[in-house]
């Protein structure tokens, strides 16, 4: 069994932080530290999770105020150093608002918050979170729970994102077909998750930490975390600079 040290970032209003800790610590037996939004990520951390919830009550735009937090500077330094980083739901929104990932999330097309199980299809294995144990066009069953999940990018940038292979997950039906009916929120091109150009940072709307046990209806979400653990043990990234040091 491989081991990694995960940091789970906590903002005021995060509410999936404990679920991420639980999935990583209790289901995958990983080391986990919780990092308060005013602090920096400790140097011994291998992977970072920006969890879901309603940071600052989503008062401005989802994730926008979390993006201003001091911890985001150190997240960026870890990202530059190649550490696997995953932003889930509100965490994804925060990474977009911090401009660490491309795009924006609009209100769901239905205008309603939606909580349900969806299928997503793996579009690339060049991402730290899909690089082992998963193949292109595998589908995962994962829960979603969001009101602002419609992925948006202006047309020209979208074309670039598609051609550069940065789309990691698309909403699909139970047969892995990418259809409009399978799109729960109106995301452009059914996009459920995207990565940065280096492939070490993934942002996605579905909640892998909620798909962490057969008791809860499936454990597909653990596959993403397992791949990241594997990727750190294969190629340990040059550990990020110590707190406060320039990138």
């Amino acid at each position: 069994m491989t081991h990694a040290t995960f940091a789970v970032v906590v903002f005021p209003g995060s509410n999936c932080d404990r679920d991420c800790v639980h999935a990583l610590r209790d289901e995958l037996q990983q080391r986990v530290v919780e990092v308060w939004h005013r602090d920096a990520i400790p140097a011994n951390v291998d992977c970072i999770v920006i969890p879901g919830g309603f940071s600052y009550g989503d008062a401005l735009r989802a994730g926008a105020l979390a993006a201003l937090s001091p911890v985001m500077g150190s997240v960026k330094r870890f990202a530059d150093a190649g550490a696997p980083i995953i932003g889930i739901c509100n965490g994804f929104q925060a990474l977009l608002e911090a401009k660490l990932l491309p795009g924006a999330l609009l209100r769901n097309r239905s205008l309603r918050f939606r909580c349900k199980r969806v299928h997503v299809r793996i579009e690339t294995t060049a991402c730290a979170f899909t690089s082992s144990g998963l193949s292109i066009h595998d589908s995962l069953s994962l829960p979603i729970a969001h009101g602002f999940g419609a992925y948006h990018l202006p047309k020209d940038q979208l074309a670039h994102l598609e051609s550069s292979g940065q789309i990691v997950l698309r909403y699909c039906d139970s047969t892995s077909a990418v259809t409009d009916g399978a799109n729960p929120n109106g995301s452009v091109n059914n996009i459920a998750g995207v990565m940065n150009a280096q492939g070490n940072m993934l942002g996605l709307m579905p909640h892998p930490e909620r798909a962490s046990s057969e008791l809860l209806g499936g454990a597909d979400g653990l596959k993403l975390f397992r791949a990241a653990i594997q990727s750190v043990s294969n190629t340990p990234f040059a550990n990020a600079p110590a707190d406060g040091a320039p990138a």
Binding site: D19, Y56, C115, P143, E209, L215
Partner: protein, 731 residues
């Protein structure tokens, strides 16, 4: 600011909801005329909401103790023991009136209030359930209320991160003028983390933290505003608005304060705000309270003492702490961007003394506001003159059944509730093993492997309107049947009693009978009542709501293998009807909706038969004989079978014939208690029948689970897609 001190006239007294006899009692207790602020304090503390003056003599008859009960009524929420040093903290609350005026905020603040009751006890809230009732959505105003309420519950619960895992949604014209919004919350704590709302000694500090104080919920608003002349009334609002983000901050910081053992007592500032929370904590310990209103953080300008004492601004907590803990308390709160405001102290004077701008505004004996509330003269209760006045004998002809079923499924009452529960985050906290859509929610308990909590809430205004005693008894057993069918052992009850004007003789009678039924049923089932809420005055000049008690019940599932779904699981499973023969279709919701009035007779309960069915179902589930189980309640066998099919993950329907010894209408629609449907794999059929025979419980084979068909011999011939279409459309 120019202040005009209003004098206390008979109109002012009446505006405060005080009778002249009650006002005389105040004069006697004080030996002088009260100040305006004092009058406000008496009026809220002696209000129905805080003093339970019309209900407490009845509530006193409820069974409230048992081996499992750690705290019964009297605390912010009831507490039962789950074993392994774990406790379950749970309660239900109504927010009916606020939701009728501002549906979104009304419902949202209802969720906020019940969450605070749970975490004020030291428990982390792990689940919410909402029992909501409205008039038909084809009226625009009802539709506006429905949307707003569902949205308000979603916005609040989702943001705080407590899953809404179940509830009820009822549509009936009886709720057109008064919606009912009841929210239940369940939390879990270790025994050593449990808090109470009882101060200990004089000299401790009262620390206020959370949201600031505005004019929210200050009633008699016209009167309160008389003191102010420099602001236009247009700028004011007494509607309570919620801030779920603040709630999340006070939730986390409260649990941290308790974990570090920094608090003596804790209460949220809910109804009657600062007044009620401070005085109750002191009164329980026989102490007094000094309050300094200048220390209260204020968000509106020029708040008067009256307003500061009575404000029901949300997301505010009041803690009693020892003075030497103040710095540590400040440090914990600061992490969450909150401040500790020392607004007073406990004293040994036995009095409430309130200062504002250095003037003493209130100086009254605590027991006069908390304990010695004059009981109103009992209302001469009057049973309705004729028990059978609404009764008609309605039947449905054989050829009409198929259409009757499809109509019912397309009605918003019976249609899929997916549009509601998809808006609720029901998975957050990753404990939801069985979520909304089923009769019962099942949650895992992280702290104890292989133990699960099962929760349900159930109301039925029709049953209770037809016979409040029998209807309420049936309701308690229905909640228990839901838990039993899911594989749980029922443990305890909370309840929300939604009624009309208690000074009306007939309503007083309904209330008394309903509470008598609640007490009897809870005693028989050994499920003590650990708390609840009473909401009166749910009426308009046109009519009162159906008398609507809502029962919240919690149970425990002792083994993962006992968790039993309601939906059909395997093709070919035999379907059995367990329990007494259906004798009549009175109280049927489907008939009520078809004819537009109540259809009798009332249902009645045979407690021995009920308990025999419970024992049988529990035993066959434990013996591993059962693949799915559901109880028969609203909508009868017909709706139970439809739901077992519509929720089947494998697209399974039914192929059955009705029992030969029942007439068709009662057979399909009866809502009589003590009945279940069990799906049993064929290899266990013999064992099931054996168990039933030994238990002396009727057990009739109806047919089997069949792929894609919904077929009842001679009456209904549909496929699942045809069944699903109206059910999905009706949302």
């Amino acid at each position: 600011m120019s202040v005009a001190v209003p004098s206390i006239t008979p109109e002012v007294i009446e505006q405060h909801g005080l009778t002249s006899a009650e006002y005389q009692t105040i004069l006697d207790q004080l030996g002088r005329e009260p100040t305006i602020a004092e009058l406000g304090v008496y009026s809220v503390m002696w209000s129905e909401h805080c003093s339970y003056k019309h209900s407490r003599r009845h509530l006193a008859t409820l069974p409230t103790s048992g081996d499992r009960v750690l705290h019964g009524p009297g605390e912010n929420a009831g507490v039962i023991d789950l074993g392994n040093q774990l406790a379950c903290v749970f309660k239900i609350e109504s927010h009916n009136h606020p939701s009728a005026v501002e549906p979104h905020q009304g419902a949202a603040t209802g969720v906020g209030g019940i969450l605070r009751d749970i975490f004020a006890m030291g428990a982390r809230p792990i689940a919410l359930l909402d029992a909501i009732r409205f008039g038909p959505p084809d009226k625009a105003r009802n539709e506006w209320i429905i949307r707003g309420v569902v949205n308000g519950i979603a916005d609040y619960g989702n943001c705080v991160g407590v899953p809404t895992v179940g509830g009820e949604f009822c549509i009936d014209d009886a709720y057109s003028d008064n919606c009912l919004v009841n929210v239940m919350c369940v939390g879990v704590a270790r025994h050593d983390e449990l808090m109470t709302a009882r101060a200990e000694k004089a000299g401790d500090l009262l620390v206020y933290y959370g949201g600031s104080t505005g004019r929210d919920g200050v009633h008699g608003a016209t009167f309160a505003s008389m003191e102010l002349t420099d602001e236009s009334a247009d700028n004011r609002s007494s509607v309570q608005v919620g801030d779920p983000f603040m709630e999340k901050l006070i939730l986390e910081s409260t649990l941290e304060l308790i974990e570090h053992n920094l608090l003596v007592a804790l209460q949220d500032m809910g109804a009657a705000g600062l007044t009620c929370s401070s005085t109750e904590m002191a009164d329980k310990a026989g102490l007094g309270v000094d309050l300094d209103l200048d220390a209260v953080p204020q968000r509106a300008r020029n708040l008067s003492a009256y307003e500061l004492l009575l404000s029901e601004s949300q997301e505010r907590m009041l803690a009693v702490i020892s003075p030497d803990k103040l710095e540590q308390v400040r440090a914990v709160l600061k992490k969450w961007d909150l401040n500790a405001h020392v607004v007073g102290a406990t004293t040994n004077t036995g009095r409430l003394v309130v200062r504002h701008h250095r003037e003493v505004e209130v100086d009254v004996p605590l027991d006069s506001i908390c304990s010695s509330i004059p009981a109103p003269a009992p209302v001469a209760s009057a049973p309705p003159t004729s028990h059978t006045r609404h009764f008609t004998s309605v039947t449905i002809a054989d050829k009409e059944w198929q259409a009757a079923l499809l109509d019912a499924l397309a009605s918003p009452h019976f249609a899929s509730k997916r549009w509601i529960y998809e808006q609720y985050d029901h998975d957050v906290q990753t404990n939801t093993v069985v979520g909304p859509g089923a009769g019962v929610a099942v949650l895992r308990l992280r702290q104890t492997p292989n133990r699960f909590l099962a929760v349900t809430c159930d109301g039925n205004g029709i049953w209770v309107a037809l016979d409040p005693y029998e209807g309420t008894r049936a309701l308690v057993t229905e909640a228990a049947r839901n838990l039993i069918a899911a594989g749980a052992v029922p443990l305890a009850v909370t309840n929300n009693l939604n009624f009309g004007n208690p000074r009306d003789g007939e309503i007083a009678w309904q209330f008394a009978e309903s509470v008598r039924g609640l007490a009897d049923a809870c005693r028989a089932l050994d499920t003590p009542v650990t708390g609840g809420n009473v909401s009166f005055y749910n009426e308009s000049p046109r009519m009162a709501v159906f008398p609507t008690p809502v029962i919240g019940m919690v149970g425990v599932i002792e083994d993962r293998a006992h968790i039993t779904p309601a939906s059909l699981q395997h093709e070919g499973d035999a379907l059995y009807l367990v329990g007494p023969r259906a004798t009549h279709a009175g109280a049927s919701k489907i008939l009520r909706d078809r004819v537009g009035e109540l259809v009798g007779p009332a249902i009645s309960l045979d407690m021995d038969a009920e308990q025999a069915s419970h024992a049988l179902v529990r035993d066959v589930i434990r013996a591993g004989l059962i693949a799915s189980a559901t109880d028969i309640s609203e909508g009868g066998l017909l709706i139970a079978l439809a739901e077992m099919s519509l929720c089947s993950p494998k697209n399974l329907g039914i192929e059955i014939s009705l029992p030969g010894d029942e007439d068709t209408t009662p057979s399909l629609l009866s809502e009589e208690p003590s009945r279940f449907i069990l799906a049993c794999p064929i290899e266990h059929e013999e064992a099931l029948c054996e168990h039933a025979h030994r238990a002396g419980v009727r057990c009739v084979r109806l047919g089997a689970a069949e792929r894609n068909d919904f077929h009842i011999t001679g009456l209904i011939d549909l496929n699942l897609a045809q069944l699903r279409e109206p059910w999905e459309r009706g949302q």
